[in-house]
């Protein structure tokens, strides 16, 4: 468990990273570095989006699967690493 902590801390200390969220398969946040309301909002919305993206990829080719999702907005970039049971969300501001 210490490894998990360490790894997450390592990600958080990268340049420009605003927050990190670990979410389970149903979209319930497990661990976060942001405040509760923001976390819940990000988790809910990104969970749905990831499901949609995954279903899109699989519709086109059933043997394919989603490995990574990056959303670039004006202010920052949201990166989602999905998995079968968990999802890791990182928000980074690249222009800092």
């Amino acid at each position: 468990q210490a490894e998990v902590e360490e790894t997450l801390k390592r990600i958080q200390t990268h340049k420009g990273v605003i927050g990190t969220i670990v979410v389970n398969a149903e979209g319930i946040p497990i661990r976060t570095t942001l405040d509760n309301s923001t976390t819940v909002q990000y988790a809910g919305l990104l969970h749905q989006l990831t499901m949609k993206a995954r279903s899109t990829v699989r519709d086109i080719d059933p043997q394919n699967d989603l490995t990574f999702l990056r959303i670039r907005s004006k202010k920052h970039e949201i990166m989602v690493a999905p998995d079968k049971e968990y999802m890791l969300i990182v928000i980074q501001n690249p222009s800092e």
Partner: protein, 814 residues
Amino acid sequence: MKKNIGQKPFYTSHQGHPDDICPLTLTSATQELFGCRYDGDVTRDNPYKILRKEDILQDLRNRAAVSDFSPVKQLVLAYPEDELLLVYDRDFIYGSSFYLVLTVEGKDRHLMPIVAEVGEEALEREPSDVFAAQKTPEPRPWISLGSEQEIEEESVTDSRPRLKCRISRVRRAFGAPVFFSDRNAAETKDGFIECTPYQDKIFSLKQMERHCGVQAIPNCNSSSTQTPWTYPKNMCTQYEPREFSKEEKENCLQSEELKHFISLAVSRLEVAIQQNEIADVFFDDWKALSEDDGGYAGKADSHLKEYQSFTDLHFSQEKTISNISWHPTISGVIAVAMTERLSFEDRINASTKLLLNPSLILFWSFSDPINPQLLLECPDDVFSFEFCPSDPNIIVGSCMNGQVVLWDISAHVERLQGTRSNTRDNETSVVRYCAVSSIEHGHKAPVTDIQWLPETFEVSRMGVPMENKSGMCVQIVTCAPDCCLMFWDIRAPRVAFQNMADQRKQKVEEKPLENPDGVPNTFKHLNLTWKPLFRVCPRLVNIPAIHSPNWGLNGSQTPNLFSDNLFFLPQDGELVYTDWKLEKDDSGRLFSVKPSHRFTIHDGLVNTVRRSPFFKDIVLTVGGWTFAIWKEGVMNGPIIHSSCSQRKCTVGYWSQSRPAVFYIGKEDGNLEVWDLLEKTHEPSQTQNITTAPITCIKPWIISSKQHLLAVSDHLGTLHILEIPWTLRSPCSNEKLSVNKYFEKEVDRLVYFDKRREMRTKEKKNMDAEELRKKMVRQRSQISKWILIIICLVGTYSVVKYIPGKLYFFLTYLD
């Protein structure tokens, strides 16, 4: 059963069968007798049966009348040969089941086709005989079937002999001159024949027949339902996101799957994060490049070019411009206030002359550099004037004699806009002020600055800022060296008592038409009776004069954000920062609070206090030989204080488009452009505009391509300069950089203060230390002497006597 064969058995042509055959019906007994049974002896394929004549005659003799052959008895007897042909007429072609061929030729003919058929078959085998067998058809007589009647009907023939006519006339009549005369057709009866229209029934056809198409469709059934309309109800749901409890989270965090997942996911994430760290992929380098280059452009580009200059020969002689104001809505129109260039004493001496020369505010338009467009008449020299932000036709000005003046130029707006033709009238119209404040209640000193409160604010009688619901600027603030700050309201005062209302109404009704000098009645209610709403006199220890207050009213929406603090500039170069709210003291009277901060940093009269248009809490003050930049909230001192320059700074103003740039006007007519991001110890460029001291600077943005700077000088000339691209377009992140710079300066101030404190503390400590050391040394010296004396006297007794002290002494001797 014997059938009736026919009325005329043999010889008529209408019988339907040839003459040489005779249809017969044979009974089954006859058939058996002769061996010609149906479908037995005679069939369709083989219908021919040869009967012997003698057999037939025999049968006739045997059965006489009953015999089937009785009708043909005579013919049979007449038959030449011995054998007759009986044909089975299966299809009843001739009316019976059998027919008897009565002539030899017939018999041959009947039998021949068989032979012919056979012959044809043989012929097929021998094609050379084809043509021999085919006979050309012989012409037979035409049998009339009735068609010649139709043809007769159709042919056209003369039904009667043709008539012949011959018309003749006397030869004389041909070619004779003709004389026509008029005759009215209606004169004589039957002079004309009328062909009246009539409704011809031919054309009113009735459609008797119509083509219709019919299509079968499945059964349709229309039906309807109505749902009961209950009243609409508001419904709401409230939801909460699902969350895990702490234990569950711990559980999850400890699980193996999570570890595995994290190790997998992190590798992908790190790649992505590092990509972002290295470079921002979506950053447009090309665009950014162009902005940076602008800073290094040639010096020529950053020169302020003279765009236009206005001087009026009539009105600006011997006068100076005290204030400039751009017209807020009409582009290209600028107003300047002309004041006398005399000191106070000279004014008094020349007061009679001055009364004849009225003071004016001139309106200049870019389209006409020689003649001012409009002149506003003032009761006395105007030091400051402002256009009303919500209604640019109202101008308020502050005069030297302490009065506040209002003008309404709605009648002349067209002229300013230049919609009227230039040749119409060359004389500039003079607009008289429509209202002045009452002299007793106004300021007792020249009013130096005047400002409109933003349209979302108003201040009540008690000095409490409230929200202004009318959306129009209605209040003004003025200040004067009589250390008073006054708030004025331009609306008509609300009437307290009914009688007063009637009286006032009467008064107003009495003079409805009085309109001297063509002054609009906008502010009639204020004229000469205008009192300030309330006044603020900040309590200052010595009574300096307030020169010009300025607060950047943020234009914020709610009164809560209204900054209640403002900067005052008393005359001796001090800067006062205070809250202007009135408070009640013990006796219930309202009084103003003591100012919170006072700073003396300028070494001369501070003439400008201006808030930065980009930062709400950054203020520029210009006075004496220096200028300073302050940040509200940082009360230690100015965050930037310039060094003393060679000449006095007369006026300063922030740039409207670049957060780091401001302009300082100098006593020698130089205009200094300071760029905080370029240099902070000296101006980034200096340009000489005029020879006289600069009295006012006002920039204005006409369009995104044209930014103008209005500079007025002491000689009364107004110069309009064009701001070059380098000075008007901000570089990338300029606001951010400037903000950072200011923050750094604040940090520096704070640091310095801390250090100063520390230093003083240290110094104190050091002093205390030294003092202590000195004391100790002194004491030790004294102790040495005492010991010596004691030693001289007698150690033992002393030791015994004062044991504690000895210990003390001994330790110090060490």
